[in-house]
């Protein structure tokens, strides 16, 4: 059951990621990303991270991606045009990426953690547990993050505002 669910959502996830790359229209890419995020939420559930899974849906799928789609709609982003652009990305970047990926995967397959087996339904990381940790051990980081978000809000407002002079 577990392997079935993992394969189902994992393949959905991978398919979504690949589709994101293949699609020419940003809106399709965005939808693929939503699929990736949704299936990731379910994979989190498989891993027992209940609260994170829900938050993944609410924040990523429900807020961030809506924002993306909103912007795509606002700017009426049509089909991607093909420009020559950078040779570096093709000549160096893609081989480098593939090399790095292959190295990483081979290392993971050889030395990755194999021993720990998890079982479906073993839920931990409930809201209260995560909350306790967040407000004790990581309190400073949490407060700093709140400052970051505040600055981001102000930044976004300033950036997106039309200047009155023009």
């Amino acid at each position: 059951m577990h392997i079935f669910l993992f394969l189902l959502f994992g393949l959905l996830c991978a398919g979504g990621a690949i589709n994101l790359l293949i699609q020419r229209k940003p809106i399709n890419s965005a939808l693929s990303l939503i699929v990736v995020m949704g299936s990731l939420a379910l994979i989190y559930l498989l891993l027992g991270a209940e609260f994170v899974a829900v938050v993944q849906v609410i924040i990523y799928a429900g807020a961030i991606m809506v924002l993306f789609i909103f912007v795509i709609m606002l700017l009426n982003a049509g089909e991607e045009e093909h420009t020559k652009g950078s040779k570096v990305a093709k000549i160096i970047g893609i081989p480098g990426l593939i090399t790095g990926f292959i190295i990483g995967v081979s290392v993971l397959l050889q030395h990755g953690p194999q021993e720990k087996r998890i079982h479906i339904g073993e839920l931990y990381g409930s809201a209260s547990d995560v909350g306790m940790m967040l407000f004790t051990k990581y309190l400073l980081a949490f407060e700093l993050t709140s400052v970051l978000v505040l600055i981001a809000i102000m930044g976004a407002v300033v950036l997106a505002r039309r200047s009155h002079s023009s």
């Binding site: 392997i3 990621a17 609260f51 938050v55 982003a77």
Partner: protein
């Protein structure tokens, strides 16, 4: 039937690689931005997987922070994209190479 953690990590690596690839091959600035989110998600998955592997919740906390940062980044980034589009009238990163508005 259970599966080892390294499978999750492989998926995470794959998502991350897809994100990087998207950054390399996509022209639309919004799509590139989405590739970044994809990378972040890949990393999040590895966090959760390791949290499960070690039986601690710290990984979950990190995922929270990543999400918050991603949200902040999305807000600012999309605002930048909007203002770039206003001045340049394009979303193609290859045409936005002056490194200024």
């Amino acid at each position: 039937m259970t599966i080892p953690i390294s499978w999750y990590l492989l998926l995470s690596a794959f998502l991350f690689a897809c994100g990087v690839m998207g950054f390399l091959i996509k022209r639309n600035i919004i799509t590139i931005f989405m590739s970044i989110e994809l990378m972040l998600n890949g990393v999040n998955l590895s966090f959760i997987a390791f949290a499960t592997r070690f039986g601690t919740l710290d990984g979950h906390i990190f995922v929270f922070f990543v999400m918050v940062v991603a949200a902040a980044e999305a807000a600012v980034g999309l605002a930048i994209i909007i203002s770039v589009y206003r001045t340049r009238e394009t979303l193609n990163v290859d045409r936005v190479n002056l490194l200024k508005l």
